[in-house]
Symmetry: C2
Subunit: 103 residues, 2 copies
DNA sequence: TTTAATAGTTCGGCATTCTTGAACTATCGA
DNA sequence: TCGATAGTTCAAGAATGCCGAACTATTAAA
């Protein structure tokens, strides 16, 4: 199955990072990963009404923004937040966004 | 000429705010207004290669996100950052974004 | 008081991006 | 080996974004 490419954080522009976070579903997934670390794609989903293909796309975008890392484990894809790296690249940003997330 | 409507900050969702900031040109305008306060539309523009209509659209979006206030003064529209209000709504967010802005 | 210039908005069409169903790949369990 | 599970990829329609052209409003000049 597909092997993913993860960008170096230094190559991620701020716009892309903000764009990735500027979607309620994606932000909810990031928030989940901030709490639970190591979630399959379906487990990372904020609700089960989101189609698989849409979910897959959201995760692809989060990967491109340097926010998550995805590795294959059996037939699941395990996602983790690249917290330390992201924070190193954009200090304080993720904290500020997560702190202001709606309940 | 048109009179603008400015949203109450409490009605601005985080997604909209992030989306407004997730564009290099808009972010540059916000950064400018953070320094210079009170800029006409053309003066707020990050460069003069941006078409008027595009500029107008960007500013409309920033207004809708509760980031700027626009009032008419003669034939100019004067824009100011709604800094205190925005910070009250999303504490630390604008600071974090501006601090991470590319040079 | 026309006339011209300035400052920006609005509209409409093209282009890009987003969403999602359908088909596909890969892995695991029976 | 067969079926079920987990997720990707593709393609088409929907939704957004960008920008030229036409328009409105205000000021300045003639």
């Amino acid at each position: 199955m597909a092997r993913f490419t993860h960008p170096r954080l230094e190559d991620v522009p701020l716009d892309l990072a903000l764009h990735a976070l500027a979607d309620p579903n994606r932000l909810a997934m990031v928030a989940r990963l901030a709490e639970t670390e190591r979630l399959s794609c379906t487990d990372a989903a904020p609700c089960d009404s989101i189609p698989k293909s849409t979910l897959s796309n959201h995760l692809k975008l989060l990967r491109a923004a340097g926010l998550i890392d995805t590795t294959q484990a059996g037939r699941e894809m395990i996602n983790t937040l690249r917290r330390a790296e992201f924070d190193g690249r954009f200090p304080g940003l993720l904290d500020a966004v997560l702190a202001n997330r709606p309940v």
